[in-house]
Symmetry: C2
Subunit: 281 residues, 2 copies
């Protein structure tokens, strides 16, 4: 596995590979890798000649009240895991490499940040779309692999890609879960034992909601109310939001029809978790 910190060297290398007709799969990450990330890597390895992973803890997607410094960093372990998965190239830039002095340009998808995590993370998604636009121009992949765990992020990035005509196909992969249903996340390490066992309620609430809708429940507000009750009865979690939205444009649903995204954010102690489920009805 080659490890390159420079944007220009990465662009040169990948441009040479493309002239040799190699297809490029790309998995952007912020490190602290877990099975969710590795499932994307494995999918990319299956579908492309070359798999590129980036690790960059993007300062611009941390809100004013979010602690960039506390985000888990596990450089050695991450490199070991990617090596083991036979990743071809790890792009590992510094913040100065990505945002040199006088940096000014931002990419924004309007309206897609109105609901869900948008209001509680001001500036977050603008930071996400901007860094992904940069990474796509550096790596110029044929296929981009994203996890469904961050559904709003994946849907927004795919919208940006289609709107701005980036020549890349977005592939959203299923959320990887622990045996008890908890979605794998870099933040799970911060949960204490009690919170870890309570956190399983998120997936249970999502599964209950899907079951209710499939059984004929038609009112999104009732679905949300039932989820709220379940989470509050069975855990000490603080609910930030539970929403039923259209999985293509993230607009809240009045009728539970079409491609439905049910997403939630709940804090256990200081650790904010998100999870979601997507299905057709």
């Amino acid at each position: 596995m080659k490890i390159i910190p420079s944007t220009q060297s990465t662009q040169k290398l990948i441009s040479r590979l493309k002239l040799k007709h190699k297809t490029i799969g790309f998995v952007p990450t912020m490190g602290a890798l877990h099975e969710g990330h590795l499932s994307l890597v494995r999918k990319s390895r299956k579908e492309n000649n070359i798999t590129v992973v980036s690790i960059f803890v993007n300062p611009k997607q941390f809100g004013p009240k979010e602690d960039l410094a506390l985000y888990p960093r596990e450089e050695k372990k991450d490199k070991y895991l990617l090596q083991k998965e036979k990743v071809d190239l790890l792009f590992y830039p510094s913040a100065d490499e990505m945002y040199p002095k006088g940096y000014k340009t931002y990419v924004e998808v309007s309206d897609f940040g109105r609901g869900l995590c948008g209001p509680i993370r001001p500036g977050h998604f603008k930071g996400v779309t901007t860094i992904v636009a940069k990474l796509l121009n550096i790596v110029t992949p044929d296929r981009l692999y994203l996890g469904q765990k961050d559904a709003q992020q994946a849907i927004m990035i795919d919208k940006m890609i289609r709107d701005l005509n980036f020549p890349v196909k977005t592939i959203v992969c299923p959320t990887v879960r622990e045996n008890d249903g908890l979605a794998t996340s870099s933040r799970n390490v911060y949960l204490n034992e009690q919170h870890r066992s309570e956190a399983v309620i998120l997936f249970k609430a999502l599964t209950q909601a899907k079951h209710e809708i499939k059984s004929g429940l038609q009112n999104p507000q009732t679905v949300i109310k039932n989820m709220k009750s379940l989470i509050e009865q069975c855990s000490s979690g603080i609910i930030h939001y539970i929403e039923c939205v259209n999985a293509e444009n993230l607009i809240p649903l009045k009728e539970l029809r079409g491609k439905i995204l049910i997403a939630l954010s709940v804090s256990f102690g200081k650790t904010k978790l998100i999870d979601n489920i997507i299905f057709n009805n």
Copy 2:
């Protein structure tokens, strides 16, 4: 010359050409082509295997008070001129092709629109950077050719390209002028005889300013005042702005040193003209 209205067909064709190791030069235009555009085409033809021109009158770069419908459209003549210059591919999309229903994504370079044409054309540059980002993803050129006539636009696009890591080199070409010094522009056709002969004062004022600075004049405000006097004495033009700024970041200069951009906008009747000069001091 191939004429293609579809983004996907253009992307496919160019991706095939790049696999054959062809280099791509790109000249984005809004049509109504004149010698300025053609000089960019000729430069691209010299430096690349394939030259792509786009014609798209971008609705998103017209301000609320600017008349998109009145922008000159000369499809037949434009095609004839590009054919004659042996352009390989003309990308000629519709507004629906570029901005399908539900379009949401914008690219913006902060601060670079604060001065010059920014305040008098709200939203204009956001429209420009957004369409150019789209066109770069569709055409994926090695070199992008822009005219110095639209200096603020060229400097802002180059900033966007560097900030977002687009793998393309920006080449800014000198302003092409009529025999009497007037910069060629699609808008010149709207000038009546009197205004046409008065409009030469713009280039005279710019030349005078450069001469004064090179002769030792050190105060930007005096330079601007002298230009203003000259234009007001010799013409009926209404001055929108005259500014001396740093040609790299567009910040107004306190000292006339470094790479200087002197730019102005003056209306003759209903026709707003711009011109500029760039030099080192």
